[in-house]
Amino acid sequence: MTGQSILRAEVPFPPSVEDFFPPAIVEGTYPWLTKFTVLVVLAAVVIAAFFLIAYRNPKLVPTKAQWIAESIYGFTRNNIAHDMIGPEGVRFAPYLTALLSFLLLTNIFGIIPGIQVSPNSHIAFPVVLAIISYVMFIYVGFRRHGLGYIKHSLVLPAPWFVQPILIPIEFASTFLIRPFTLAVRLFANMFAGHVILLVFTLGGFALLNSASLLLKPVSLVSWVMAIAITFLEVLVAILQAYVFVVLTASYIQGSLAEEH
């Protein structure tokens, strides 16, 4: 009994990479007008509107929206920007807050019914976000140290005879591994989460439609798993947004540091 013979044709199972290339919404606009680009614009508009409305008429005793907005900004400013970068890190708080809110919302899209896919599960979007952070920490380093930033970031206080071994490692870990892992960590987490949800949800239908009577009840197990994984995905979405922002702050801190 092969997999094909027990499945009806209309169940798109197993999921494939094609699921991460949504078609154009209007004919001929691919890849500029797809589900992902609409979601990205939607996220930006929602976040901008939320913060504008929440702060439009600030009160000493905050309204609910103002309180949420202040909590998000206060958390990023105090617990990430100030604690990790130091007092001068506060000027990066607006960028870090925008990054955190954008990542949180786009990651959470992965489990909102009706949307159920995060743009970050397509490598293109994490790559752009990683490039922004990458250019930023290098730019900040050059602004602080001038051309000395190259020495600052590559040469560590160590005996001279180990320097030839350490300098290529420093170069690789700072300028090659950092942007790569920043993008791939977020992408891989969101991609894998979406694939797992697809496997259990569509797998449930595949089992229900199977010819074998014994396999039909197993679909319930599959759907229970899908629900459980959905809750796990909430955790992953929040954690990955946080990790991305924390690492960006940590890279900026490294660029600003006076000595090692």
Partner: protein
């Protein structure tokens, strides 16, 4: 810790950041060491036709250098 009334001291500059940052720094150095010196070893392999010996030596050397960097940067204090 929203009700933490004592003002927190910012970390002194140059101090490695805590938690996730430290973990990823360590991982970055280890991978960076193996990749950087593995690549240099591979180039020497291609040049001198050593059948991968230099790649292996480079990777091990890089891993050792990575561990050295981790200890040096994160091991203090």
């Amino acid at each position: 810790m929203a009700d933490d009334s004592t003002p927190k001291q910012p970390r002194p500059p140059g101090d490695p950041v805590s938690g996730a940052g430290q973990g990823w720094t360590a991982l970055g150095y280890l991978i960076g060491g193996i990749v950087a010196w593995g690549f240099i070893g591979w180039l020497i392999d291609q040049w001198l036709d050593l059948n991968g010996v230099a790649t292996v030596i480079g990777s091990v050397l890089g891993a050792a250098g990575g561990v050295y960097l981790i200890v040096m940067k994160l091991g203090r204090g």
